[in-house]
Symmetry: C3
Subunit: 299 residues, 3 copies
């Protein structure tokens, strides 16, 4: 998401691969059907999350009350939960909400912001193992921390207490999270009603995986790290696509939309203020083909 010239020894997805068609379809379907994605997200970037979902063509509803979240989940196509800023009473409430989403069979996106910092956040993230989301989107440090908390890897790494706190900025490179991302994606798929899940890791070259194939998405703009909420709003837009598409397609469509829009915004802006304005405009104006024709690497 933040500008790269990733050139690993991996194959490019062909121009005629069916995944491109599914991505274009997701982008268009959101614009045609304006699906409702609900968000429980942090106080910092909540406005950008909603505006990005609207600019992508969806409809937004932001909830904080447990009874609101469950009521709205019933009428929404998907839900986005971001643990960036928490209040004490969410410790029990969010675990309960995850169980209710599971019971309702509703797809949701988890953004494990700052995974590893704070006992309340750790307790909440651990509780989600029993009622997991459909998609997880985070930076490399957060994905590694969550994988360790859920003890999905080798026993030697499985002590969340000794995991280095991730903070809100990634301290790890995307590549170091590949195995954690695949393990998490397989775990999500195993627990999903339709057997499908995905994990997206934001970084110099974004990574998206369904647990089997690993897609790498080069490009984007480093200016995305100079506005707050780039990652959070990507999680929100992923939820918007998840309301109309399966997890892998939703994750790819959202990350590619963000990469192409941020490149346009960087060209048209003169600093972080005008960048954010141009970015929202680009989310609105970009075509489904521009998104679907992106360079995508496999492996």
């Amino acid at each position: 998401m933040s500008g790269s010239s990733y050139t690993g020894g991996t194959a490019a997805v062909s121009a005629t691969d069916s995944i491109r068609e599914r991505i274009a379809q997701a982008v268009n379907s959101v614009r045609e059907t304006t699906p409702l994605a609900q968000s429980f997200t942090n106080f910092v970037t909540i406005n950008l999350v909603a505006n990005a979902q609207l600019a992508a063509g969806g409809t937004a509803a932001m909830s904080f009350l447990p009874d609101d979240i469950v009521d709205t989940a019933k009428i929404a196509g998907s839900t986005y939960i971001n643990v960036g800023t928490l209040l004490p009473f969410y410790k029990d409430a969010l675990a309960d909400i995850a169980r209710k989403l599971q019971y309702l069979g509703k797809p949701w996106v988890l953004d494990p912001v700052a995974a590893g910092i704070g006992k309340t956040r750790t307790a909440i993230l651990q509780s989600f193992k029993a009622a997991p989301p459909t998609v997880i989107r985070g930076n490399a440090s957060e994905i590694i921390a969550l994988d360790a908390m859920w003890e999905l890897g080798a026993p030697a790494r499985a002590d969340a207490e000794t995991t280095r706190p991730a903070g809100v900025e990634a301290v790890d490179e995307v590549e170091s999270s590949v195995q954690a991302a695949k393990r998490l994606a397989r775990y999500l798929a195993q627990h999903a009603p339709n057997g499908k899940g995905a994990v997206a890791v934001s970084g110099e070259a974004d990574l998206v995986t369904d647990g089997e194939t690993v897609y790498r998405l080069p490009g984007g703009s480093a200016m995305m790290t100079k506005i707050t909420g780039a990652g959070c709003s990507l999680g929100g837009v992923t939820a918007t696509y998840l309301a109309v598409a399966e997890p892998l397609t939703a994750s790819l469509a959202a990350s590619l939309l963000y990469n192409r829009a941020s490149e346009i915004a960087e060209r048209e802006s003169n600093g972080p203020g005008s960048f954010q304005v141009a970015f929202l405009d680009a989310l609105w104006n970009i075509t489904a083909d521009q998104v679907a024709e992106s360079r995508i690497l496999i492996g």
Copy 2:
């Protein structure tokens, strides 16, 4: 508020009607006296509410603590309460605040966002019947839901439990809310210290009523539905005008200001990012005459 070519068989308010003078006076008075309007509003759009109030010429203070809200209400010209995002402890706190505003004789604007969703919100909105606001601003679905909750209509409709949840987006047309809006406005007027109240319904052609006359305000921009907080900030600016004008004039002035500013912003922008920037600029630059000379239909 969202773009229309409403051409119902209704009469236009004449160019010399005294309501136009009162609207122009309200717009100018806010700019000259920078009145303080306090807001208790949701976490999503709070920043835009404050910025819109400032751009319209007023002064903003946003409060969440019950003791802050009551303390600030005493020195503010008006208060705005928006129930979009609630926390559990507001269930009792907001009912108590409404009683204190009533005791203090302070005018306030209610924005019943998502009326019908969530037990906590329903309990709060029902409690306001005993200590009602001066103005209510919402979309058609919210106005219909609130009228049903307060059981102001025929007994057959008066079961809030069976009311379809409104969500944050209107699922009803403005026209379907006319009777509910009139009943609510009459109820507000009956309980106001000065016998005056108003209800504003946002939609393709906004509707404003004091319970007797129904005003329809054609125009505006559909882009207002592509940024978050258009409705909330209109509620906030209505409170700003309510600090200097009576309820009907305040509601008309705010809705007309929004319609004209959104038309300017649509012409000058290239997507939702630049639209919001241009909209705030237009709120600041538009003249009182441009607002007061708007087309206004009656009946």
Copy 3:
């Protein structure tokens, strides 16, 4: 901060004064080392605080949970606490957090927004006397109210209960707060591990003092009062500089950066919407020399 042509009979700091070098160094150091400043701040302007810190070159983390705040303080260069919008449970939590910051020896900036309004806020601000911040930034009314609450002046004034509430807008002129600002700065210095503290008062001509010397910073733009969060985000950027510089330099650098950037933004904008965009761009593009070569008056 809000535009002035202050021409009091005070001496100008010479072009070669070493303070200018330290200011330039702080501006550059933030851009080179992207230090993490943590914020506990209000819901209204939290997004602008984070974006301003990023635009100045720093890294932002916003926290609301007590355990998050303490955990993040350990890895952050500084912390910013703004009491603009509080929730009931912060009454005890913030006093405890201040004690932990003191125990950890971590520098922090206090923004006593609306000092004097609300019992909860007053209790919190009083509790900070025992574990004071490193820098205080506020408007004249807030600085006067806090000085009275902490009973630093003559006994006759030392009754916080009778202090006129400051509100969020200053009702006092900067000049009336000079003695209060100096007393507070000396108190902060006496209680700081390294013996240094500073107080910054925002107004027509900003004032910064370490308790001994009083610096006045003419210039800026009156448009800063027409966007919400100008003061809050200045507090946040002061914390960003406090992560790399001592209190006086950090306060001067932040206030001067804001004055120069707001002048540029005023020239390049057409209202409060485009002003905020241009302001964030200017924070990003302005040079350290432009900041350090500002006119600074002493005395």
